[in-house]
Amino acid sequence: MVSDIKVSIKNLYKIFGPNGKDMVQKVEDGASKSSLQAEHGHVLGLNNVNIDIPARRIQVIMGLSGSGKSTLIRHLNRLIEPTSGEILVDGEDVLAMSDAELRDFRRNKMSMVFQKFALLPHRTVIDNVGYGLQIKGTDKAEMNERSQKWIDRVGLSGFEDNYPAQLSGGMQQRVGLARALATDAEILLMDEAFSALDPLIRNDMQDILLDLQEELHKTIIFITHDLDEALNIGDNIVILRDGAVIQQGSPQEIVLNPADDYVRDFIKDINRARVLDVSSVMDAGSTDSGLDLAHDVILELAMPEMIKADVTQANVTRDGAVIGVVTLAAMIGGITRPVTKDEDQVTYR
């Protein structure tokens, strides 16, 4: 799973208020979000964020509202200027770019999908999809050809000449997705892109995104407040709270080893059997039960297999070689809901 780093965020602080720069030191000295607000009238947006985002993977950034996730994603293309810190994309410092360089960067390197779609209401679907290309100065014929390709790819063929207001929310977001893909940017920022859609449509859109990703291998940075969504699509997950990174890791790591009660509370209600795979609950050794399970089979599928084969142990294999053994008991242990300490007293804001 080793891959090169595409986007690197280093010591990023964002403090909203007139003297943000002066407040960084106070935060470094341990001032909390609430004390900063009460004593200095400044709002802590991001608190020393460090994330390395690997290329060609889906990086999910999740947190509740007010945790700074939308602020963070807007720093990557500098829709918001940081108070201090560094953002490197392919080793290049985004914060050092001139206005012209930044425009060029936004046109070619990084595109964005928005929570409320942000389509141009006076343009048809095909002209909306071609918007990024038009800004780049692509000629009309090529623009339409490439837009058409993406419209077909997201399943909107036949709606080219409709206006956004004539489409349902899910269809509008497909336009938003096609618009972002049409510029051929390597990095895709998705700001709660599916949060405004109802659950069935949201699942559809997640599938579309995963399908596209299998083929395109973009670096996708996906913001969400929905853990199921994060676990479903994320290769890596970062959890933010009050502008600080609480935990980062693969979905499995987060479910198995939540860093604190905040995360524990987050994962309390998810379907663990659908997230965890057999390798995450296996032990060293092997068994002669006769059942082999591939290492990335999720528990939800693995357990019926074992019941069906009437065994309580199975070998875990990777590329055909046995790498460990898994027991039914370990699986049940894995999907048992963790107990939060002092459950009633945990409050989040």
Binding site: N77, L79, L102, R103, D104, F105, R106, R107, N108, M110, S111, M112, F114, Q115, K116, F117, A118, L119, L120, P121, H122, Y131, G132, Q134, I135, K136, F159, N162, Y163, P164, A165, Q166, L167, S168, R179, T183, L189
Partner: protein, 296 residues
């Protein structure tokens, strides 16, 4: 208690001196630069004279045809086109054709001048809060100060005639288009603007592709208001030598000619209704894409 009974004003002599010196200074200015300023407006005057002649000298059936065609292009509504034709025929029958053409001429020119000045100013205002803070009170004054008050310096500077009339009309009619352009651009959805930025729009691209198109309904409401207010100034403008429907109204007022006043007044109303309906319908058509409904 004399102090309380009478407001301690500056005193008659002082006040007279102040007024005198202001009048004198302006008269000096007018003497010195009046001719140059008039010269500056000469091309505009020639254009207005030419345009008025064009409208009054054109054969009336052709003009009615043109008005009907414009009404159709703007409104795409048969009732409005028929109403336009009936109104202009009635105006002609009652002997007000020439005055009406003169009024249409000055209203058209005033509207174009107001659009040409008002929309760019509105755009600048939407970009800068400071400019908005400066311009808004000026617009308030322009809309509330009695028109006769600013007729005085305009007439002192430029005499009477079409150009001072046009300036008077524009002072009164330009505020709504400035206000609504500014408002329309400021109301453009923040997320759409963010999208424009995220895709790397330059300022120009953002203005032309996003801000102006999305502000268009408001801008158009401003154009409509500007036309209406220009029409409202027709009578006052006729006091300083603008030909048109205002002249007979003025004559009717001073001579108590009820019928003359009524007829010309109604002709102004007819023009107002036509301009209003056509421009409103056009504005509505511009927003057709906003109609929802998933029916395809």
């Amino acid at each position: 208690m004399e102090f309380l009974d009478k407001f301690p004003d500056l005193g008659r002599t002082t006040l007279r001196d102040i007024k005198k010196s202001i009048d004198f200074a302006f008269r000096e200015f007018s003497n010195k630069y009046g001719e140059a300023i008039e010269g500056f407006f000469d091309p505009l005057l020639y254009f207005m004279v030419w345009f008025e002649k064009l409208l009054t000298n054109a054969p009336w059936p052709l003009m009615i045809l043109i008005f009907a065609a414009l009404a159709w292009l703007g409104a795409r509504s048969l009732p409005i086109v028929i109403g336009t034709i009936v109104s202009f025929v009635a105006i002609g029958v009652f002997g007000m054709w020439e005055d009406t053409m003169a009024t249409v001429a000055i209203i058209s020119v005033a509207t174009f001048v107001c659009i040409g000045l008002g929309i760019p100013l509105g755009i600048l205002m939407s970009r800068s809060n400071r400019l908005q803070a400066i311009v808004t009170p000026v617009l308030d004054v322009m809309q509330t100060i009695p028109s006769f008050v600013y007729l005085i310096p305009v007439v002192m500077l430029l005499g009477i005639g079409k150009v001072p009339g046009l300036i008077a009309v524009c002072i009164y009619a330009v505020p709504p288009i400035v206000r609504l352009t500014n408002l329309g651009i400021r109301l453009v959805d923040k997320e759409v603007l963010e999208a424009a930025d995220a895709f790397g729009s330059s300022y120009r691209q953002k203005l032309l592709d996003v801000q102006i198109p999305l502000a268009l309904p408001n801008i158009f409401a401003g154009v409509n208001q500007t036309i209406m207010m220009a029409l409202a100034m027709v009578v006052i403008a006729s006091m300083i030598g603008v030909k048109g429907l205002g002249v007979p109204v003025l004559r009717a007022v001073s001579n108590q000619y009820l019928a003359l006043g009524l007829m010309n007044g109604l002709a102004i109303v007819a023009l107002a209704v036509i301009f209003d309906r056509v421009s409103q319908q056009y504005g509505k058509r511009l927003q057709k894409h906003r109609q929802g409904g998933h029916g395809v």
